[in-house]
Every structure is written in structure tokens, then in C-alpha cells.
């Protein structure tokens, strides 16, 4: 009887088997890790806007309050985007014919809204309410990051469910006193944990049921 296989065949077969096993593991690993990557969550993604509006200039520089433009943040689920009119309150005096503001003037002229591009987006089946968060000690920068430094706005957090849960399970680590909600420079103090617990009392937050599905999904 003749040999059907050369001596090297063993090595090849074993390598092939090991390889196949490895491939499977690698494939699964990719599938598992991918959703966590910025590629999937579009974290840090910068979105081109029709108007080169700089938060760094207006908030960081001029020190405008968030609520000057996002005026429904305290009483609506939707934080609100400024009507063209709001822009013009200043820009009918300042930079009246700056090229950069042309779209704004056109909007006012034609009565057509400025088509801003959404940056921080959650799926339609998630019902996030800005007002209730802002009223209960969750500050802007906690979720939106250092907007006052952003030339162009990017999505600062992953906005995944896991990320939401981090806070809904233990708000204490993020809560701020009422006067710091709109403070862009706020950073948690050393004893945040213990201050946070006090704030939970202060805001009367029912922490036990914050992870109920019906809190965010309907």
C-alpha cells in the first residue's frame, strides 16, 4: 500500500484546523466588539452644518447661556433649536453681511427654516425628555460634553443604552446642584458620591425604578 499523504500533510491539516477555529473565534469577536466602537455609536462624530455656527465662540467666548437658543430645554422633551429670528436679534446689528451668515439671512428672507443636521440622536423608540433631566440635576455637559469648546459640534458620548443605564442605575455620580446645571465647566468634586446621594434626596429622585423599561420606551 502506498502513502496517500506526504509527511507535510499532517502539519497542513493541523494548521488548517487550528486556522478554521481561529477564524470563527475572530469573526465572533469582531461581531461582539463592533457595537462598542465609535464606528457604530458614531461617538465623536462631527456633523457638517449648513451654517458654521461655533459654540466655542458663542458659549465659550461670548458666554451665552444654553437656554438663550435651546429655550424649551426646561419645559419640553425637546431642548429646542433657535428660530431664525433668534439669530437675527443680534445679527441684524452685528456682522449684518458676513458671508458666513448668508444662509441665516436667506432663511429669514424666504421664510424657510435652516436645515440643521442632528448630532445627538437616539432611536425613535427612545423617549428622552430634556426637561425632566435638567430639572433633576443632570447638567448639559454631562451628556453633551464640552460644547463651549466646540468649533463644530460632535457627539461626545456613545448614547448607547448601556451608557444611559450607567446613570439610571447610579445617578449619584453625575448629579449637580441646581445652580450648576448649565455650567459648562462643572466637574464632579472629590466627594461627588456623597454629595450625589444628598442631591438625590434634594431632587426627590425615585432611584429604585429608574431602570424600568417603561421609563424610556413606549
Amino acid at each position: 500500500m502506498a502513502q496517500h499523504f506526504s509527511p507535510s500533510a499532517d502539519t497542513i491539516l493541523r494548521a488548517a484546523l487550528a486556522g478554521a477555529a481561529l477564524m470563527v473565534v475572530a469573526f465572533l469577536a469582531v461581531l461582539l466588539i463592533r457595537p462598542y466602537t465609535a464606528y457604530s455609536t458614531s461617538q465623536n462624530r462631527i456633523v457638517e452644518q449648513p451654517v458654521q455656527f461655533s459654540h466655542a465662540h458663542h458659549v465659550g467666548g461670548l458666554g451665552l447661556d444654553c437656554r438663550y437658543c435651546h429655550d424649551s430645554v426646561e419645559n419640553s422633551a425637546f431642548a429646542g433649536l433657535p428660530p431664525t429670528h433668534t439669530c437675527m436679534t443680534c445679527h441684524s446689528q452685528l456682522w449684518t453681511n458676513a458671508e458666513m451668515l448668508a444662509p441665516v439671512r436667506r432663511s429669514l428672507g424666504e421664510g424657510k427654516p435652516i436645515p440643521w443636521q442632528r448630532v445627538n440622536q437616539v432611536p425613535d423608540y427612545v423617549y428622552f425628555d430634556h426637561s425632566v433631566h435638567v430639572k433633576n440635576g443632570v447638567g448639559c455637559s454631562t451628556c453633551h460634553g464640552p460644547v463651549h469648546t466646540m468649533q463644530q459640534v460632535w457627539q461626545d458620548k456613545p448614547l448607547t443604552m448601556q451608557w444611559c443605564l450607567d446613570c439610571h442605575r447610579d445617578p449619584a455620580q453625575f448629579l449637580r446642584p441646581e445652580d450648576k446645571i448649565f455650567d459648562m465647566n462643572w466637574t464632579p468634586p472629590a466627594d461627588q458620591e456623597e454629595r450625589g446621594r444628598k442631591l438625590i434626596q434634594h431632587y426627590l429622585i425615585e432611584t429604585k425604578n429608574l431602570t424600568d423599561c417603561s421609563r424610556c420606551h413606549r
Binding site: 507535510s8 500533510a9 499532517d10 431602570t211
Partner: protein
């Protein structure tokens, strides 16, 4: 590099007898090649016991425990949910999964262990070159001896009376 000798027989019984003799002769490097399992050979050739089942048991138990840990952690710690008022730690329902996982793990462990212990896969082996060895998987029963103090002559002498079909040396 000592020669590998093959003695071919027509049926398992003589092979067993031959194996016994070879072993009584105190020869080393004994093995047999048969088309189907001949359980007596284990004792005849004095093979060490196969220690696979303890491994399978270990793997199975480990998997079961891990599964229970997973169920318990995810249902009680990670995201406790009220499902029809059932207790968070509904351990009886976890057991089904533990069992399935255990069995699967044990089976996989046994499978892997079998290959590890038997040195397979081994596509290329000198024996395959031996004449008529292809019948080892069909209707021939071989006794293999690889012992420096043994040569074809002595082997034939030893097997005298058992009527091996042939005794030959395998090229290495």
C-alpha cells in the same frame, strides 16, 4: 532507529494469543492494528487505561457551574426585572440550561481529548507504506512490534504455531 515488525493474522483470536505471547516475552513497543475494536487487546498488550472520562466529567461540571453563575448574575445582579412576579433568582429554571451546557461541554472535551491522546490527526505514517496494511482497516489483524532486541526471525519463531499469514519488516 529500530525496525518495526508487522505480523498479519486472519482473525482476532490468534492476534490476541500472539499479543499475549509477545508481552510474556517481555518485548517492548507492542501494538495491534484491527478493522474493529477488539477489547481483549487492551489487557493482552497491557495498554495503560484511557483517562478521558474524568476530563469529560470535569469539563461538564465546570460548564454547568459557569452557566448557573451566568444566569444568576444576569437575572439577579446585572439587570433585575419583574417577570410575572417570579423571584429574581428562579434557580429551578436555570438548571435546564446548566444541564444542556454541561453535556455539550463534556462531549466537546471528550472529542478533543480523544484526538489529543491518540495523536491524531496523523495523515502520514510509516505503517501506511507497509504492504497489505490497507487491509488492517478491513479484514486483516496485525501485531506490531518495535523492539531493538527483536528481528523478523525471532518474531516468526515466537509466533510459530499461531500461523501468522506473514511477518515482515516495515521500511521506516
Amino acid at each position: 532507529m529500530t525496525a518495526l515488525l508487522l505480523a498479519e493474522f486472519r482473525d482476532p483470536e490468534t492476534l490476541i494469543a500472539a499479543a499475549r505471547r509477545a508481552r510474556e516475552a517481555g518485548w517492548k513497543g507492542l501494538d495491534a492494528h484491527t478493522p474493529f475494536a477488539v477489547p481483549e487487546l487492551v489487557e493482552a498488550l497491557g495498554l495503560p487505561p484511557a483517562r478521558i472520562r474524568p476530563i469529560m466529567l470535569g469539563a461538564g461540571v465546570a460548564a454547568a457551574v459557569l452557566t448557573f453563575a451566568l444566569c444568576w448574575y444576569s437575572a439577579v445582579i446585572s439587570y433585575p426585572l419583574n417577570l410575572g412576579g417570579r423571584p429574581l433568582n428562579s434557580w429551578p429554571t436555570f438548571l435546564v440550561l446548566c444541564f444542556e451546557a454541561g453535556v455539550l461541554a463534556a462531549a466537546l472535551a471528550g472529542f478533543v481529548a480523544f484526538f489529543a491522546f491518540s495523536g491524531l490527526p496523523r495523515l502520514h505514517h510509516p505503517l501506511f507504506a507497509a504492504r497489505d496494511f490497507d487491509r488492517a482497516s478491513q479484514d486483516a489483524f496485525f501485531l506490531a512490534v518495535q523492539d531493538p532486541k527483536v528481528d523478523a526471525g525471532r518474531l516468526a519463531l515466537l509466533l510459530d504455531g499461531l500461523g501468522p499469514v506473514s511477518v515482515r519488516e516495515v521500511a521506516q
